[in-house]
Amino acid sequence: MKKILVDKCASMGIAMGKVFLVNRPDITPAEYSVTEEEKGTEIQKFQHAVDTVTANLEEAAKESEIFAAHIELVKDFALKDSVETMIRSGVGNVEQAIAESCNRFVSMFEAMEDEYMRERAVDMKDIKERLLMSVKGINPNPFAAMEEPCIIVATDLAPSDTVRMKKELVLGFITQFGGVTSHVAIIAKNLGLPALVGVTGLMQNVADRDEIILDATGKTIIFKPDEETKNFYKEAVQRTNEENALYAKLKGVPAVTRDGKTVEICANVGNVEDIKTAKEFGFDGIGLFRSEFLYMENTHFPTEEEQFAVYKEAVLTAEKYVIVRTLDIGGDKGLPYFEFEKEENPFLGWRAIRICLEMTDMFKAQLRALLRASAFGDIRIMYPMIISEDELDKADSILEECKKELDIEGKAYNKNIQIGIMIETPAAVICAPELAKKVDFFSIGTNDLTQYITAVDRGNKKISYLYDSFNPAVLRAIKMVINAGHAAGIPVGMCGEFASDEKAAKLLLGMGLDEFSMSASCMNRVKALIREMNYKEISESTEVKRI
């Protein structure tokens, strides 16, 4: 038995089971030699690999158009010529010829001045791997062997991995790399599965099919547990299941404290599917609809019509209010079809509202879509990354322009649509009293706010111990924002993961937060906590007062 302790939990819960180790196969070309007579067979092997990879990519292209161009690259006659010439002239076998030919194109792309083109080297490497796996007879899906419920263990997981695994068999996730805001963490939370990420020393302690206990809530991993430990955890798992059953009963019950203060419990979502999942748990509204996924999982800037269809479906599905955050891109989030200039400090750079105020045609397409969808339900618009009244005024005047256009075109929208802003910069905290007079609501984004207030890069592992939303400066900033909002008579919500933290929930309630928005699977746990609390007592406690 061996234990590893981790500093942070990515998604709560406990799981016991067998390890499914995600193997990255060895694709080093074999070094056998080829006789004159065998050359024809080698070329056939290549042609067969092209056909197989093309078929696989065609399947993948149904889900994402990005793969459509990959198909053309695989079938490209320049690649074919290169591979076949190498085999014919005796330079190497099929595997060596594929590796060598692809590497030439990789180096060619890597040498280009244009950064976008340089990144195409990655596509070429991907094609090389696919072709080599095909000739070597390796299944390109590392999850093909998943047959029984298991805990996924990997150095790291990409979004494409999470698409390919059989989710119904996954009990939890452990990765050696990645932070608590990483892709795996978000997926795990949405599925309501435990996850620990950034686990140093993970891979050297684990083998495929090993028994393992993942206690994400307790930030502990136990390898090859003994009987006593297993029994202890069996009980813990049972308790968790019972708690979950209890939470399930809270669906549709209001989040009201013992002394009668009601707050709203909302879900953070990325698409309409998420809203459907969240509805199973019950919510008071959608506190954050991340519209960037509409842009990121696309091959072009989504048109007004495309967006309108999504927002309309979102609000009709939710049947409650839906706060849509306008495009929050840049920083760590890029687009496959638009090239961002490389910046020294992307988190302090051209991102979110800054991009929208410059690319006004694109921004207007989104605003018009949101306005039109507001005719079908309570859509609310939220601008991210605001740092001044001036920015807010500019965004609002573009919105007014859109409203006038729709009036002229005779298209319906909610004339009293609510407009709010994310409070996630120190500037917005400091100017909150003025900003509050111009909007209908605030929503505090703690992930970025913590990073900006404490000057701690949230992706930097070396200083991750400093990334702490309980830092007194962050707590005080939250209090200032809530007070400023209430002074102007507007509600204040929070859509950062901090709102789902058990210890934080008490402080936030005490400070008077009106709306708690979080991953769907956390909602009823927080609701249960709030229903046990006494608002007046907490708000007058020294713990809250001294913030």
Partner: protein, 93 residues
């Protein structure tokens, strides 16, 4: 052989998506085609070769076609490039 000069209007130049469209359009033509930006001359029927020329926005390229259908093919290629290769529909950035 016929040839014509045309300007690339795609904002990020001939990156993967527009290049792919051009390669497909070229692939349907029977003529032997070349496209040149002054530095490199490539066969646009190959997406890889086309991308290897790293043709940027605003650059002028020369398209040549030779074969029985060269006049029609040249027009097809030039029209495709001038129409923005599927990119210019509504955004002007």
């Amino acid at each position: 052989m016929v040839e014509q000069k045309v300007e690339i209007i795609n904002p990020s130049g001939l990156h993967m998506r527009p290049a792919n469209i051009l390669a497909q359009v070229a692939g349907r033509c029977t003529s032997d085609i070349t496209i040149s930006n002054g530095k490199r001359t490539v066969n646009p029927k190959s997406l890889l070769l086309l991308m290897s020329a790293a043709i940027t926005c605003g650059s002028e390229v020369t398209v040549t076609c030779s074969g029985p259908d060269e006049i029609a093919d040249l027009k097809t290629i030039v029209d495709a490039i001038q129409s923005g290769l599927g990119e210019m529909v509504q955004e002007k950035f």
